[in-house]
């Protein structure tokens, strides 16, 4: 399996035991840890970190949910319990900088942890990839060619409207020499995939359509070969939508980290 890793992923516990400190902590998140589809993105983010030689670590089994779904569902107690426990772990390891594989974790740690005593420099993996492209460390060379392929990007709400990050994920696509097409509802006007606000974990309310189907129909109308995103929630919803429309043979739903890894042959 090419997608398996041929290197060890360092944990914080390992590094501390060796008396070392990481440059950046990779916060994987629950989806990235447990969901099979999202695990592929997680491994690809590690491949990128490994490839460019950044000294990084993960928390491994010491990581726990940020509390985002509890907070969006209205359970502030559970959220703050999770947050304070995580902050204790992060501060215990003297963490300064964090990259997350999920916009929800990103938003929560970046915006909601400081008020509870957790102050870190937090970036989303799309920002890391953009930065590496700008520094010339990632080039879209030596791997799969995306030349001329039609790609459309779906903005995750907690990355886009939630935190104003629209260009970073597009930077990873712009270097591909692919044909980028935007949906009408993009960037500030992006349509939600339907999973935010804890909707992922419940059945939708009665209506005439599921939100992910509405979104996928908009994407498919552009006839893309790839629907790109940078959120494991969106990934799940878009995949389900593409399958619902029987287009999973023709259209790939990929995270920008996966696209970057393929383009660089990592």
């Amino acid at each position: 399996m090419t997608e398996q890793l041929n290197f060890e992923v360092p944990t914080m516990a390992d590094l501390i035991a060796r008396g070392e400190e990481p440059e950046i902590l990779f916060w994987v998140g629950c989806f990235g840890s447990y969901d099979e589809r999202a695990q592929r993105t997680t491994r690809d983010i590690c491949k990128i970190l490994h490839h460019v030689g950044i000294k990084y670590a993960v928390l491994g089994t010491e990581e726990s949910c940020t509390g985002d779904p509890a907070k969006r569902a209205g359970n502030e107690f559970l959220f703050q319990m999770q947050a304070m426990t995580n902050i204790e772990v992060l501060n215990g390891y003297n963490i300064k900088k964090i990259v997350t594989g999920c916009p929800h974790c990103f938003n929560t740690i970046k915006n909601e942890y400081p008020g509870l005593g957790g102050n870190y420099e937090v970036i989303h993996h799309s920002q890391l990839i953009q930065q590496l492209i700008d520094e010339g460390k990632l080039r879209a060379e030596g791997g799969e060619s995306f030349k001329g392929k039609k790609i459309t990007f779906h903005d995750p709400c907690y990355l886009g409207r939630g935190n104003g990050i629209y260009e970073a994920p597009r930077a990873a696509l712009e270097m591909l020499d692919a044909q980028l097409v935007e949906m009408k509802r993009c960037k500030v006007n992006g349509l939600c995939c339907g999973a935010g606000g804890a909707q992922m974990f419940k059945e939708p309310e009665p209506g005439k359509k599921d939100i992910n189907v509405e979104r996928v129909e908009e994407a498919l109308a552009l006839n893309p070969q790839i629907v790109a995103t940078s959120c494991p929630f969106c990934m799940t919803m878009l995949n389900d939508g593409v399958k619902f429309k029987d287009q999973n043979e023709n259209v790939d739903v990929l995270d920008i980290a996966e696209i970057t890894v393929r383009a660089n042959g990592l």
Partner: protein, 431 residues
């Protein structure tokens, strides 16, 4: 002289009545919980200038943006003319500013052009509502009153502008006839075309000119007093509402300080939380919301951009962010009336949640912030939805079953699913 006294009495009465009702609105807004929206004054001023004065969020929809700008600019600038009307009314003068000469002609000419664009825009707005039947003007919350309210506003504006133009047409004719008291002054690029429709006799023209003058000024003050009952209140409240905007990233939800103290005490037995006032978690009724939420509710002009962008609403769910705002305002008005009638501690046994907003609406939200992005005056329906979720979950423990399962897993396994924390790092296993 009698007319001058009548005029002064009318203006004083109109302003007094408006102040009385406006104070009631302020009192109602202050029923909300405290929230600090007085920080970062420089940034707040900038947001207000950009969003309210500059109308930067309107441009997302160019056609209504242009039409709205005509009405907005027209209304603000034509108010200079109201100043002249006031002075003329009080002192019995006629066109008191006409001494300004060429500049006066320029002003009156500009007002006429603006009056015409306001009038035309309002006609187009009526066509959009009644002929084109644009989707966002419909919806469950757009019942009889909101629809009539919109019609009253547009028709009143059309009548006011018509009166202004007919008045000028009659005035110009009287000036040309050299009628006494009608000082020569002003330019009439629009109303010149109306002159032909008017009678030739001096007395009829004076009756028309005076009739329109009184109609115009009475109309303006009647309209002022209509505002506190109408969605049109936004012409005033949009400014403070944008000043008191939520300035943090949209994705950030506030951390509840009362919860922080309790959680700290739970995790660290040596921590003694400061004495907190016993209040409920989240919001069941309007008084549980903070005052900025309530200001939002009075500011909403029911344009429906939020609902039009809402993914839940687009896909046929019951949730409509506009309805959340209208329900909040209507319930707050009801609470205010109860206070007037029965005193401050009266409980009518009703609440915003359940009597106005259903749980089905509250749980359909994806917290995607499309509504807050779409609102041209920075209203935040999501903030109200989250507060009601907090009440349902923390006070009542009535979350939907599947969410309770998710939260149970989170508590026990540190993940929203029933996976063992020991398996959390399995993704890195090499084959």
């Amino acid at each position: 002289m009698v007319l001058q006294i009548l005029f002064i009495a009318f203006v004083i009465a109109a302003i007094a009545l408006f102040s009385f009702n406006f104070k009631k609105v302020i009192r109602n807004i202050r029923l909300g919980r405290p929230v600090d929206r007085f920080d970062r004054p420089g940034e707040r001023l900038k947001v207000m200038l950009k969003v309210a004065f500059g109308q930067t969020k309107m441009v997302a929809r160019p056609i209504p943006a242009i039409l709205h700008f005509f009405v907005y600019a027209g209304f603000i600038i034509i108010n200079i003319e109201v100043l002249e009307i006031m002075i003329d009314g009080i002192f019995g003068t006629h066109r008191v500013f006409s001494g300004l000469g060429g500049f006066y002609n320029f002003l009156i000419g500009s007002f006429e052009i603006l009056a015409f664009t306001v009038l035309a825009s309002c006609v187009i707005f009526l066509i959009r509502r009644h002929v084109l039947k644009i989707k966002r003007f419909r919806g469950v919350e757009m019942t009889e009153w909101p629809k009539s309210d919109a019609n009253y506003i547009l028709i009143t504006e059309i009548l006011l502008m018509s009166a202004f133009l007919i008045m000028n047409a009659a005035d110009a004719k009287l000036q040309a006839m050299g009628a006494g008291h009608y000082t020569v002054g002003g330019a009439f690029p629009i109303s010149q075309f109306l002159q032909g429709m008017l009678p030739e006799s001096e007395s009829s023209l004076i009756a028309i000119e005076r009739g329109c003058w009184w109609f115009h000024i009475i109309g303006i003050f009647a309209f002022l007093n209509y505002l506190p009952y109408s969605k049109h209140f936004h012409i005033m409240l949009a400014f403070p509402n944008t000043y008191f905007s939520y300035l943090k990233p949209k994705g950030e939800f506030t951390n509840m300080q009362t919860v922080t103290n309790e959680v700290k005490a739970m995790l660290d037995p040596s921590f003694t939380p400061p004495e907190a006032e016993a209040s409920r978690f989240g919001a069941k009724d309007v008084k549980d919301l903070h005052w900025a939420n309530l200001l939002n509710a009075y500011t909403c002009t029911e344009c429906g951009r939020c609902t039009d962008a809402c993914p839940a609403n687009i896909t046929g769910k019951l949730l409509s962010p506009r309805k959340i705002m209208m329900d909040t305002r209507d319930r707050l008005t009801e609470v205010g009336k109860n206070i007037d009638k029965h005193g401050a501690d009266y409980d009518d046994g009703k609440s915003l949640l359940d009597d106005y907003v259903s749980r089905e609406e509250i749980w359909a939200c994806t917290s995607c912030n499309a509504c807050t992005q779409a609102c041209p005056v920075n209203i935040d329906p999501l903030g109200i939805i989250v507060e009601m979720r907090r009440y349902i979950v923390m006070e009542e423990s009535q979350a939907p079953g599947s969410l309770n399962t998710m939260m149970g897993n989170l508590e026990n396994n540190g993940a929203p699913w029933k996976y063992s924390p020991a398996d959390r790092f399995n993704w890195a296993n090499k084959n």
